[in-house]
């Protein structure tokens, strides 16, 4: 089991969701986050004064998957999120030691799906 975490551009979320549904990945958790990579965020003005290095809005996805679904999930996110510009984001894949479905108490692979 793996936990796929992706940081993407907020406006790519709808496309990423579409690609994930196509890959038969239907379980997803989304949260708004702030961050920046190499491009060092954006400039903001406060009554005319410049402030640089502000964080950009991003969206973070968390998806728990069985081994068979790792590649399709990663590829779907890349297809949906890529614009070719700086700031498209990152995908992290982590080992996941345990997964429990709260409603039934099921564990492991069955609980993910």
């Amino acid at each position: 089991m793996k936990l796929v975490i992706a940081i993407i551009q907020p406006h790519r979320l709808e496309d990423v969701k579409k690609e994930l549904y196509k890959a038969d990945v239907n379980l997803i958790t989304v949260s708004p986050v702030l961050g920046h990579g190499k491009q060092k965020g954006v400039t903001e003005l406060y009554r005319g004064a410049k402030e640089t290095g502000n964080l950009l809005r991003k969206v973070r996805l968390e998806i728990g998957v069985n081994e068979d679904f790792v590649e399709p999930t990663v590829k779907a996110i890349v297809r949906g999120a890529r614009t070719g510009n700086i700031g498209d984001g990152k995908i992290f894949v982590l080992d996941m030691s345990r997964c429990v479905r709260i409603r039934t108490g099921e564990e492991g692979s069955e609980a993910i799906g």
């Binding site: 907020p10 406006h11 708004p32 954006v42 400039t43 003005l45 809005r57 614009t83």
Partner: protein, 412 residues
């Protein structure tokens, strides 16, 4: 007519002017709540910029072009810089208040009309292009239409068509311009003929409340006197807004399963739009019918026609103001009665079919002129400087890319 200043009339027109001024910030919040959170400052900024820029345009030359002596199509520049527009009454427009009181009351109409169009190009128009567009539009579309409908010697005014508070000048005019802008600009990225998520519905409700409040100045103030006609306009304005808000909620309940807050405030604004041309000519029963039916027409325009035709009028400026304004103008031809306003005319239901024809001609001229002139202005601005922001900027949002500000923080 003997020109003597009446203190009650002057006080009411000044108070009405302040009420109408508040409608533009009200509209800013009405629209601001409807856009995505990355664009809310863009909308607020556009509305307030209209207030700043067109307040100046109006006193410098806008008022002169709209109401000054000229031909039947447009006024001249003899009143530029308010030259000759003083504190004595100008009897042709308002015999009992200072000329400048009439001028500043009309200024607020000239400001809110272009602001209404913002609803059509929200979330994708470049700020610099917006600035140039509104000045050109106020000068070459608003001024001539206003002159034709309201000024002495105006072509539509001479036809005998009735427009009490701006159904053609304000709402049809802004509504058609909105349709043109939605077509010329094209859809927002990611728009697939279904609504984009709105980010703050309570803002929209607050905005609608301010619009309803301000509309008493808009319509009852258009009597230009503290008299019975102002009271009648006030009463029918409130009645039509209430009927339309209720009507929209009931339509949603019947066809979509539940009445919504968004639908109710949309209906209220549609009702206010529709009663605007009729406010000084219809009785309260007429107002109820106008209000109940405007929601039916706008509900169909927004919910059925727009998705089918596929243009992206982001916040339904055409669907509410264009359609609601056209219904109001035609309804004035149906329900107007000289028992309310002896200076008006009787409509179809009071035995005078001719008025409907005059109303239709007035609507037709406004639609055609506004459509063509707005289209030309939009294309010229597009060629010279580009109307739309870059795709990347549209994705990040207008707040950060056009103004380098954000409305909301995520942390703290």
């Amino acid at each position: 007519m003997e020109a003597v200043i009446n203190s009650g009339d002057t006080a009411w027109v000044l108070a009405s002017t302040a009420l109408v001024m508040l409608m533009t910030p009200g509209l800013a919040f009405f629209y601001g709540g409807m856009v995505r959170r990355k664009n809310v400052l863009g909308v607020l900024m556009q509305c307030f910029t209209v207030l700043c820029v067109l307040s100046l345009q109006w006193v410098l030359f806008g008022y002169s072009l709209s109401f000054g002596p000229g031909n039947s199509f447009i006024g001249g520049l003899s009143w530029a810089g308010l030259n000759g527009v003083g504190l004595e009454p100008y009897a042709d427009y308002s015999a009992t208040i200072p000329h400048q009181a009439f001028m500043i009351f009309q200024a607020m109409f000239a400001i809110i009309t272009p602001a209404l169009i913002i609803g059509a190009f929200a979330e994708r128009m470049k700020f610099s292009a917006f600035l140039v567009f509104i000045v050109l539009w106020a000068t070459f579309v608003y001024a001539p239409i206003c002159h034709m409908v309201w000024a002495v010697g105006g072509f539509i005014r001479n036809l005998g068509a009735l427009d009490f508070a701006g159904g053609t000048v304000v709402h049809i005019n802004a509504g058609i311009a909105a349709l043109v802008m939605a077509i010329v600009l094209g859809k927002r990225k990611g728009y697939e003929n279904k609504p984009m998520p709105l980010h703050n519905l309570p803002f929209t409700v607050l905005g609608a409340a301010l619009l309803w409040f301000g509309w008493f100045g808009f319509n009852a103030g258009s009597a230009l006197a503290a008299n019975g006609l102002a009271v009648s306009a006030f009463v029918v304005t409130n009645t039509a807004a209430a009927a339309a808000g209720l009507s929209w909620a009931l339509l949603e309940w019947k066809f979509n399963g539940s009445p919504t807050m968004f639908g109710t405030v949309t209906g209220i604004v549609a009702g206010l739009v529709a009663i605007t041309p009729a406010a000084g000519f219809v009785n309260v029963m007429g107002a109820i019918v106008i209000g109940l039916l405007v929601s039916v027409f706008c509900f169909i325009a927004v919910g059925v026609v727009k998705p089918k035709l596929g243009y992206d009028d982001s916040l339904d400026a055409f669907g509410v103001h264009g359609i609601g304004g056209a219904w109001g103008a035609i309804a004035t031809g149906l329900f107007a009665t000289t028992t309310i306003n002896p200076a008006g005319a009787d409509g179809l239901f009071y035995g005078n079919a001719g008025l409907v024809a005059k109303q239709l001609i007035a609507v037709g001229i406004t639609v055609v002129y506004c459509f063509v002139a707005t289209f030309i202005i939009a294309k010229v601005v597009d060629v010279v400087m580009g109307l739309r922001v870059a795709d990347k900027d549209e994705a990040i949002g207008l707040d950060l890319t056009q103004h380098h500000e954000v409305a909301y923080t995520v942390l703290d």
